[in-house]
Structures are given as C-alpha cells and as structure tokens.
C-alpha cells in the first residue's frame, strides 16, 4: 500500500468514497478499518441493512469473483472474511433491532467425520449478509443433528459441507434418511465442498451443488423465491 493510501482519513471521505474505500479495505483484509468505516456510516444515519448489503456484501462479492477467477487465493479470502466479520459483529444486533428483511432460515454444518469448516463458515457469513438467518451446527455432524435442527428451527434450507472424498458420501446418508422419513421435499438441500461437483450433488439427491459462497447465496435466493411462488400459486 502506498503512503498516500496510508494517509486516508476515513471520516473525511464522503459516503460514496467511503463505500469504495471499504471495498478496498475488505479486499485487503483490513478489519480495523472496516469496523471504523461501519461506525462512521452508522453515525451518519445509514441503516444497518444498507451498510451490510451496499458496503460489506458489495465488497465481499468482488472478493468472491476474484477468488473464482483465480486472482485471489484462500488466505486473502480468509482475511477479507475476517474483516467482514468485524463489520458484521457491529451490525448484527442492530439488524435484529431494526427488523431487516429476512430471506429465510438455513441450518448448515460440516458432515460426520469431517472437521473442516472454512468453506462452511464463508457460506454462513455470506448467507447472513444476504439476509438469511443461519443456524450453524459446526463440524462433524451425524444425521441426527441435522434432522433435529431443521425440525426445531423450522428451517427452509439444509446446507451440508465436506472437504474430504471420504466424508462427502455421508451427505447421501442424510438425504436418504430425510427421504425415509418423508421430509425430503420439505427442505431445500444445498451441498458444497472442494471435492464435490454438480454430478455428485444430483446423484445424492441434493437440490443443488454450490461451488462457492456467492453461488450458495444466489442458489438459496432462487430456491426460496421458487418456494414462495409455489406457495402463492397453491
């Protein structure tokens, strides 16, 4: 970063410049700067939901695209996510107070036998950023955890993640159990993880395989809107 950029005083930027600067700071994974900028926008009377969608999600979308295109790599994405998390930490209680629009509810977790959660955590964060309520079950989840949570939380979406070739077949165990219990079609089932692909998602009976967090958000929105349309038609 140049000296000139180092000298930027966030509070002296107008709103448009500040949002642009937040995009840059998210891209560079600068958590403290993001937290400062979020507070400045709040002081200027911005709605928490607008800060979230226009500044944070907007910035992370650029990060997501550059990750997809091979310009950014995992470490940079994690730093950006960490910065966004800092901003969301400030906004989350305010979003609840101000009644921000809710897209739907997702239960998400890494499957049994798998302790990897980087991808899952990114999806959780981006889904929250997009207005979904997310119940994160963490790692190493047997089928019982998923079924109990989707029922208790009255979830719209079940998300499952796996990083290992050896653990990804467990997703089918969960879906098959849902079929056996006659509840499969009550939920949108999204799956993701590095060794998965679209073919695998179809083969195990998921609604969709999501390549990355941005795709997960878009897919979830699409399925939720389809569900609403079906309900309206029915």
């Amino acid at each position: 970063m140049s000296d000139e950029e180092d000298d930027i005083i966030l509070s002296e930027l107008d709103d448009e410049e500040l949002v642009q600067q937040m995009f840059d700071d998210l891209y560079d994974g600068l958590k403290e700067e993001i937290e400062e900028a979020v507070n400045i926008l709040l002081e200027r009377g911005w709605q928490p939901y607008d800060i979230l969608t226009k500044a944070l999600v907007g910035g992370m979308t650029i990060v997501g695209h550059d990750f997809r295109d091979g310009i950014l790599f995992v470490p940079e994405v994690l730093l950006a996510a960490n910065a966004m998390k800092g901003g969301m930490h400030i906004l989350k209680p305010l979003l609840a107070e101000t009644g921000a629009p809710k897209q739907g509810k997702m239960v998400i977790g890494t499957v049994k036998g798998d302790i990897h959660d980087i991808g899952k955590n990114l999806v959780s964060m981006m889904m929250e950023g997009a207005g979904f309520e997310v119940v994160d079950l963490g790692i190493n989840n047997p089928v019982e955890n998923y079924l109990e949570a989707i029922a208790k939380e009255e979830a719209d979406i079940l998300g499952m993640s796996a990083l290992l070739t050896t653990t990804m077949p467990y997703m089918k165990v969960v879906i098959d159990t849902m079929i056996a219990q006659g509840i499969r079609d009550d939920y949108i089932v999204l799956v993701g993880g590095a060794p998965l692909n679209e073919e695998f998602g179809k083969a195990i009976g998921a609604d969709a395989y999501c390549r990355d967090a941005a795709v997960a958000v878009e897919t979830a929105k699409e399925y939720i809107s389809r569900k609403h349309n079906q309900m309206a038609a029915g």
Partner: protein
Amino acid sequence: MALVRMNGWSQVDLTCLPAILHNHPEKITDAVRDAVARHRGNYRRVAIVYADCGTGGLLEQACNEMGVEMVPGPHCYAFFDGLHRFAAREELTAFYLTDFLTRQFDAFVWKPLGLDRHPELLDMYFGHYETLVYLAQTDDPVLTASARQAADRMGLAFERRFTGYGELATTLERWAVC
C-alpha cells in the same frame, strides 16, 4: 522414484506431474488425462500413481474411461498407512505429513496457506486439529526433527508413525512385474 530405484525396475518409466497439483485437486484429473494421452502410445501398460487425492471420484472415473489402473484409496496417507488400517483409525483431528511433505512443508503447506505472511490465520485453518502424524517412509532423524518442528509451529501434538511405502510398494510391484 525410490521404489523403482530400490527394486531395479528398469522396465518402468516414471512421468511426474507437478506435486503442487495436490494443492489444486480440481486440476489433477485433466493433468492425468493429458499425461496418459501423451505417453500411452509408447508403452504396453500405463498406470496412475495417484489415489483419489481430493478429486471427488473424478480421477477414478477418468481412469476407468481411459482403461488405466490407479492406486486405490482416498489419498497417499491411506495407502502408506494401509487402506483398512487408515480407515479404522478414524483420526478426525490428525494432520498428516509424509517424507515428501516434511521436506516441502514450507513450500506446500505454510506458504500456500499464507501463514508466512499472516500467522493469525493458523487457527482458522487448523483450529480443529489436535495432532500432527508424521507417516515416515524412511528412518531419518533429520526428517523426524523437521516434522516435529512443523507440529510445534502448528501448535499440534506430534506423533511419528513408521509406514514405509505401505500399499504403494505392493501395488507398484504388482504393476511392475505383470
């Protein structure tokens, strides 16, 4: 390479793909397809010394289509340790190093994960791991010390497990002498 040399398999040629492909498993299948297409005309038999290695079954599918054999199992840790033994251990929280990965720890683990520049990411990557298991192919005190040092850097307990070349040796022997 060590097995070919040790066993004197002069009839076997080895073509290596870049080892760093293991950090990008989505590129392995196409790289193997290209290598098979390039070499199969010159040999009676072509075999793939990769396990699934994070390709999610795509490499196996490609090998079946091409009519070539590959090493069974999920990854090299499993075939060094023995497929059944490895599965039975159910070591969810173990991070594995082999001789190769111990030698190349910085180039293949530490730097690609950005930990040289951003050590604060360590917990995001390895927060759920507990032990570093060094699957040793050889008896080398220097490598053991390096593996132990890697465990210390990652904040993990250390275990050394001598495996030799495990099922890689028996699989290659079957291919080499048939």
